[in-house]
Amino acid sequence: MKLLQLLLPLAVFAALPVAAQQTLIPAQSTLGFTFKQMGVSVDGKFTKFTAQVNFDPAKLPTSKVAFAVDIASATLGLPEIDAELPKAPWFNTAKFPQATFASSAIKSLGGAKFEVAGKLSIKGVSQDVVVPVTMTQAGAVTTATGVLPIKRLAFKMGEGEWADTSMVADDVQVKFKLALNGVGKL
């Protein structure tokens, strides 16, 4: 009896309505970034990242998105420069192995467009951002895409001699395409 009394509240809690969980399809998802180096555009990407998505288009107030990026998976496809990324002036991967994003509010703009407000943390620096997201559905897969412009110096990306923005521009476009299973009809 005592056990049941203990377990009952737990069972009730578990049954509380929470936006259903979706799963990320890593093979169809991409997370990349583009920046300019002396006028020349350079593209990079992260090959390892995970997402916890509780998204219900009909229940936005209880919907949540959380993201974790494996910083060591960053690559520009250029071995010489990739060797620089984990160093202290750049990602300082040993000290900050993950970048994260946690949403605080999701707003619908109509037409499958959303604004996801949340905290972006890179290299130990947290910033409030608003991420524009466009969603499209094809069968069981929902794809969320968007571009978030950030300033690299705000996150201490490129310290010391690399802080010179005439060398590497401050503006970085973070581009994402997340394929999700289990999203309700938009």
Binding site: Q37, M38, G39, V40, S41, G77, L78, E80, I81, A83, E84, E161, W162, D164, M167, V168
Partner: protein, 174 residues
């Protein structure tokens, strides 16, 4: 005009050769990125000026060699001078074009002076880039080698033959 282009391009090419040799030995740093970009911008400028140089050369015959010099030169020297000049003109274009192709294939489009994006000569292909990279270096060394031979020959005429041949290339006549 031919005289001006000759000296400007000669100095530019030698300068860029020096920068090229120096910059590839540097460890990765903002300074190296700067040098690489300046080297490319200068290379494209050299290419553009070389086109102008070639057009000018094809439309303006240089003065004929003085008879005394023509008579004084053995046939092999005449052949050598023609061959060297043809080869140098060919390399004026080959060296920067391979450099541009290498940069494109390696995934670094060239933005001239950081302002004007130039078309990619080739799609990105890292393996191909690795293949042609040595060609840029080899052809650059060949060009500088020929320039050295060219300079030595000019000095031979000036100091050994004392035939005043160099006069026609000195500023004040262009």
């Amino acid at each position: 005009m031919a005289v001006v282009l000759h000296w400007v391009l000669g100095l530019a090419i030698l300068g860029m050769f020096g920068v090229g040799v120096y910059m590839t030995d540097l460890p990765f740093s903002p300074w190296r990125v700067k040098l690489y970009n300046w080297h490319k911008w200068a290379g494209v400028t050299i290419l553009a000026l070389s086109i102008w140089r070639l057009v000018w050369r094809l439309t303006h015959r240089p003065p004929a060699l003085p008879q005394v010099i023509v008579l004084g030169m053995p046939a092999w020297q005449t052949r050598a001078y023609h061959a060297t000049h043809y080869a140098m003109y060919a390399l004026f274009f080959t060296v920067p074009l391979i450099g541009w192709a290498y940069s494109s294939a390696a995934g670094f489009p060239i933005v001239w002076f950081g302002q004007i994006p130039l078309p990619d000569m080739l799609p990105v292909d890292k393996e191909f880039a690795a293949l042609i990279k040595p060609l840029h270096q080899i052809s650059a060394f060949a060009l500088v080698g020929l320039a050295g031979l060219h300079t030595a020959a000019a000095l031979k005429h000036q100091l050994i033959d004392r035939d005043g041949l160099m006069q026609r290339m000195l500023p004040g006549r262009g």
